[in-house]
Symmetry: C2
Subunit: 188 residues, 2 copies
DNA sequence: CCTACCGATCGGTAGG
DNA sequence: CCTACCGATCGGTAGG
């Protein structure tokens, strides 16, 4: 791993733990065992690290869900696979995912706006799947947008409790979340 | 509204918008139209504001859900009412709720620990309802803790999109969320 | 509620 | 990658 990658990974962990604003370059340097000024031999600015993490994660989520999508499949199958892909990316990048979810607001323009439009586009992918399921009669939801947000909420809360050494594997998490979202808790 | 309350409300809005760390006392003073030093006539420290907001919201959530709970009712009814109470508090305090959800980590000890144990206790209330529903045969879930976290995720994501002028009222939101959590999206 | 100010820390640069 | 340092800003205090 290059020093640059090491800086980004360490910074990501700190950004998740303390938040972007509360993380100083001296905190980061301390964690790396070097002086703060030395970091600037490898990166241009503190925000550059945040940009890299946010946009890399956006790309990872896109690629993972695109790779498993097949337009001719049922909405149920498409949603199941999209959830599994999202959970996989998230559990493999817990810290970067948290930064992607909560620290993007510290991006300056034009990064802030372009990040938001990427995120909207990603949500639209899920919204499209759910809408097509409603149209085909597979799904029945109060409101497509509301249902999409609820699915996302379940997906995006995972990083708050997931631990690699926990009893649930990523694919079990995906399976359970899909079950909850499709069938609910009621015992029929 | 007293000046002190005005300071807390303005700070809450800034803490939500920019995050606790990125909000300076000068930002706050500017928003209030006074000098930063003047704020200290009313409050002791920046963190004191955060403490007030976090613990006040914890109390509000507890009181609201306790008030509607009845141990002899069915788990379905208890969960329905708890969700409605939570959504009501959240939609009536969108900014304070966001601070409650994301900024508590900037609390110093012993506030940090005691906040976390309050939050655990609150989650335990929901977990208890879901567990009793599983025991009575009303619910069927992959895992009680997982189901509780998923319900919470839906509850706690609301503040990211809720707008008082939006088309969904708080009670409709609660109704729709309850429907999704109990029945899922599948069209039976 | 203001002026005047404090020591500490911030992100970052120059020069080696 | 370090030493030495910059101007800006931080939370907060003294004194009125």
């Amino acid at each position: 791993m290059s020093r640059k990658e090491q800086i980004e990974e360490t910074a990501t962990a700190l950004f998740k733990a303390k938040g972007y604003s509360a993380t100083s370059m001296r905190d980061l340097a301390n964690e790396l065992g070097i002086e703060a000024a030395s970091i600037y031999s490898h990166i241009k600015s503190k925000e550059e690290i945040l940009q890299k993490v946010c946009f890399r994660m956006a790309r990872e989520f896109f690629e993972a869900t695109d790779a498993v999508d097949s337009p001719q499949a049922s909405a149920t199958e498409r949603l199941t696979k999209a959830i599994a892909a999202h959970v996989k990316v998230m559990t493999q990048n817990t810290e970067a995912s948290a930064v992607f979810l909560y620290e993007w607001r510290h991006l300056s323009e034009p990064y802030h706006s372009s990040f938001l439009s990427l995120r909207d586009k990603y949500e639209a992918h899920f919204r499209g799947i759910i809408r097509s399921g409603v149209e085909s009669g597979e799904f029945k939801v109060p409101d497509v947008k509301f249902a999409t947000m609820t699915v996302f909420s379940g997906l995006n809360w995972i990083h708050t409790w997931y631990k690699p050494e926990g009893k649930m594997t990523p694919s079990e998490i995906a399976e359970n979340l899909t079950y909850m979202m499709l069938n609910g808790m009621k015992n029929n």
